[in-house]
Symmetry: C2
Subunit: 220 residues, 2 copies
Amino acid sequence: MSRARTPEAGSRGEPRGRTDKRQAILEAAFRTFARDGYGQSCVREIAEAAEVAKPTIYNRLGDKETLFREAMKAAVEHTADRSLSALEPLRTPGDDIRPVLEEAGLRLLRSHACQESQALRRLLSAEAPRFPDLLEEIQRVGAQRIQDALADRLARLVLAKRLEATDVERASEQFLALLTGPMELRSALGTRAVPDEELHSVAEAAVDTFLRAYAPRDPG
Amino acid sequence: MSRARTPEAGSRGEPRGRTDKRQAILEAAFRTFARDGYGQSCVREIAEAAEVAKPTIYNRLGDKETLFREAMKAAVEHTADRSLSALEPLRTPGDDIRPVLEEAGLRLLRSHACQESQALRRLLSAEAPRFPDLLEEIQRVGAQRIQDALADRLARLVLAKRLEATDVERASEQFLALLTGPMELRSALGTRAVPDEELHSVAEAAVDTFLRAYAPRDPG
DNA sequence: AGTACGTTGAACCAACCGGTTCATTTACTT
DNA sequence: AAGTAAATGAACCGGTTGGTTCAACGTACT
């Protein structure tokens, strides 16, 4: 039961069975960094958590700094994909757009409030001054992409006269702000797990305010 | 020109000239922690930045950890006071409440976007898992107090029929979310200075949406 | 003048960390 | 079965860190 975690990775195309170890290292590194912070983490502990020898880490990733970078990049792909898929309901709005907005909002919030996502933001925020390029890249494939995708969805709704927004970028930004803004305090900067009912009520309140501001005024 | 930085501190009442040194240490510590992070900062550098000998730090603050705690607590008092004073305009609303909301919003945003405040949030977010009690205290005297004070102001406006809100806590939370939420991306997690015009436009957009959602519907 | 206290610099300590080397073992390829 | 490449553990290295000790110094009170 020591290793052999391979789920069903084809392991073909890659030079050897190395991708398996690499992934294990990156996951353990992210967990360790998230728990102790970059400066307080030591490679030995990461190696232990990954059930891997220390030289293996340096062979595959060469450096504590690149180890950190790769672990962060791997983490953002997980979370961003999940957030993007949360926007799917907006593709098929019903008679009333409120339900799909609430559904999308709730799923965005769940993705935003999950442990991995919170740890990613905490770590990124912490090391941002020392890794400006990493910050730029992660913001681009993370938050920025979500905001742009949401703006696309909102633009469709505006064209269909289901929303009234002169600036969909602004609307997208504010919708996300209404969702994630309140989470900062409620989740204690990402250190407390927020129950799902609370996410639900935050999403509901966000959609409510959003619709009051952006729903078409019927008698116009 | 080596030391003698005392601006005009009376240095009377305190046991010795110690408060002066203590403050210098705390400020230098905060600057160093903000620049390098907690784990990467070393006490020697802090001592140099404070123009103080290393044993002096250990004499006065005993520990790197308590040094960090005290520096953080000192920083939050600065920033929280400034944010609280930003709410003053709401005490004297004119015929239209929009101008005072925009004024308060802009001042909140300026306080939120200043370097010290951003560094404080970054550091707090970074070390939150390791200092849960510190996080709790700072949130209480910082963000939570602002949100409560704003809720008080909004409650007055509701009573005066200038706003329509069934839940002023929620309204306060969302007003702050509309202000600070968009800043996360725009300020690159607090590492980029945001020009004042941009703060102005964010505040304007926030107030606009807020009023659309919470202004009394005249023909009701 | 004397004393008590805080500051200072320097040296010191034990522990730890990032990173490397190397001989040995494991496992896959042909 | 032979060969190759990766993984392993252990030891090792130079550098840094948090924290302490100590003798010398300055300064404020009495």
